[in-house]
């Protein structure tokens, strides 16, 4: 099956999202970008780099592990925790942009909102995702979307990124219902 997003598509989507983030938030120094490991974290660092290139000022960027806040812990085997890196200015009173690779049920984002609350109280939280594949189970919506990919529930969306998998690509696997 061919790629739903190529390396070029991903790069253009991230550039556009960076501009949209800046458009929405007029003070780029008040933005803190937090990526959800593993791939959301890589995307967060890429977005921060692009924004730094546009604005010429350093951007606060880090990672946020949400495992301990998941609502399905008791249904699955425990998994090791990923690294959380909160940038120097923290989240208190700032605009936090959460970054993840795929938005699906919305449960990861709910967990992330709880995880942020444990660190501090941001002024606002926004959500940027590379792919929105639908099938939300909670009232959660992304502010910035790389690409809407309509999928059936039986399919899976596979994101690979150079930092983690050696190449940039998004694929839909499985038959559409």
């Amino acid at each position: 099956m061919s790629a739903a997003l190529s390396a070029g598509d991903i790069s253009r989507a991230l550039t556009r999202i960076s501009h949209e983030i800046l458009e929405r938030n007029n003070d780029s120094t008040n933005i803190t970008i937090l990526g959800i490991p593993t791939r959301g974290a890589h995307l967060a660092y890429r977005l921060a780099k692009i924004i730094e290139g546009i604005e010429g000022v350093p951007v606060q960027v880090g990672t946020l592990d949400i495992t301990l806040h998941r609502d399905d812990l008791r249904m699955r085997a425990p998994r090791p925790l990923m690294e959380t890196v909160i940038p120097s200015l923290g989240v208190e009173g700032r605009t936090v942009v959460l970054v993840d690779d795929v938005l699906f049920s919305g449960r990861t984002i709910r967990s992330a909102l709880d995880a942020i609350g444990e660190i501090g109280r941001p002024e606002r939280v926004q959500l940027a995702v590379l792919v929105d594949r639908g099938h939300r189970e909670l009232p959660i919506k992304a502010d910035f979307v790389g690409k809407n990919l309509p999928t059936s529930k039986s399919q899976s969306v596979k994101v690979t990124l150079t930092e983690h998998d050696g190449s940039d690509e998004v694929r839909i696997e499985g038959e559409s219902a």
């Binding site: 812990l73 085997a77 609350g117 444990e118």
Partner: protein, 314 residues
């Protein structure tokens, strides 16, 4: 069902997972909100049939930070002191719906008996059984060593650790030797011959009776408490002689390389195995060990009881 009864229950990779998880847990303990919802709805019972301060409050703090309900069950003032058997106690805990039982017991093998007895469904975590093992202490010691000497990452290869004192009665030493070996560290035991266990030559350690000669060669020194409550015989001529040969004071501490850390599982007998000056020196990490203990126990509780027991795979 998965239990933590002995360091032998875990392999090297899982030990490192516990240490890595503890490092993330430590971050929570440093944040403004020291509470996670992870174990909401789970019940953790502290079953302490032997005196303990540090281990019990450490497990209690860990369980509470993860939002578990904690029931403390201590020998004094409970049915254990009235002569109740472990089986009847276990059935009581089962009726209470305990998801995990943290057990400290004067009898070696008590945790194992509780886990194998099929009297209850909860996960059993050994918090010290007689002179057998104390796995969570070994894990927190490894965590402390790794944090100071390996930048908080990976295993403990190339680290040399001395364990000094009453090895014979020490469950801490047994668990420590097993875990340090597993993580690739080299262990030297320093003790008078009377305080070494039978068949110590079968352990993967070197044994020395010359503390002064060992000190300059090691990166970490773990002092053990002289356990007077377990000593039925005379193991050394006098406390003063023991202290002069195997105790650590400022003068001995000066023989170590810079950066060598001094550890003690507590409670310390100040003036016997460790002098006040050594215990309070900048090289001493005794107080930090207690803080690390909470992080390690949070990691243990998370990894052993948060997930579904059917799918647990460690």
């Amino acid at each position: 069902m998965k239990h933590l009864l002995s360091i032998n229950d875990i392999d090297k990779d899982f030990a490192i997972t516990i240490l890595d998880t503890a490092a993330e847990m430590a971050r929570v303990s440093e944040g403004p909100v020291k509470k996670l919802p992870t174990l909401r709805g789970k019940t953790v019972v502290n079953l302490f049939a032997e005196d303990s301060t540090r281990t019990r409050i450490s497990f209690e703090a860990a369980a509470k930070r993860l939002s578990a309900d904690v029931i403390n069950f201590t020998a004094k003032g409970s049915s254990i002191s009235k002569g109740e058997s472990l089986k009847d106690t276990a059935q009581t805990l089962q009726a209470l719906g305990a998801d995990a039982v943290i057990i400290r017991h004067p009898a070696s093998g008590a945790a194992h008996r509780l886990a194998q007895g099929r009297w209850m469904n909860g996960t059993v975590i050994n918090a010290g059984d007689g002179t057998h093992e104390h796995p969570s202490q070994a894990l927190l010691d490894a965590y402390t060593i790794r944090k100071h000497l390996k930048d908080g990452k990976g295993d403990l290869s190339d680290v040399r650790v001395a364990i000094v004192g009453d090895i014979l009665h020490s469950r801490v030493a047994r668990s420590n030797v097993l875990l340090l070996n597993k993580l690739g560290a080299t262990v030297v035991l320093v003790a008078p011959p009377t305080l070494l266990p039978y068949q110590v030559e079968s352990w993967k350690v070197t044994v020395s009776h010359d503390f002064n000669a060992v000190l300059p060669t090691v990166d970490a020194v773990i002092m053990l408490r002289i356990q007077q409550e377990r000593m039925s015989d005379l193991y050394f001529p006098s406390e003063r002689e023991y202290s002069s040969l195997f105790g650590i004071d400022a003068e001995r501490l000066a023989l170590t390389k810079p950066g060598t850390i001094l550890m003690h599982p507590g409670p310390m007998n100040r003036g016997l195995e460790i002098s006040a000056e050594a215990a309070d020196s900048p090289q001493s990490v005794v107080v930090e060990q207690v803080a690390n203990g909470v992080s390690i126990r949070m990691a243990i509780l998370y990894l052993f009881i948060a997930g579904s027991q059917e799918s647990i795979n460690v």
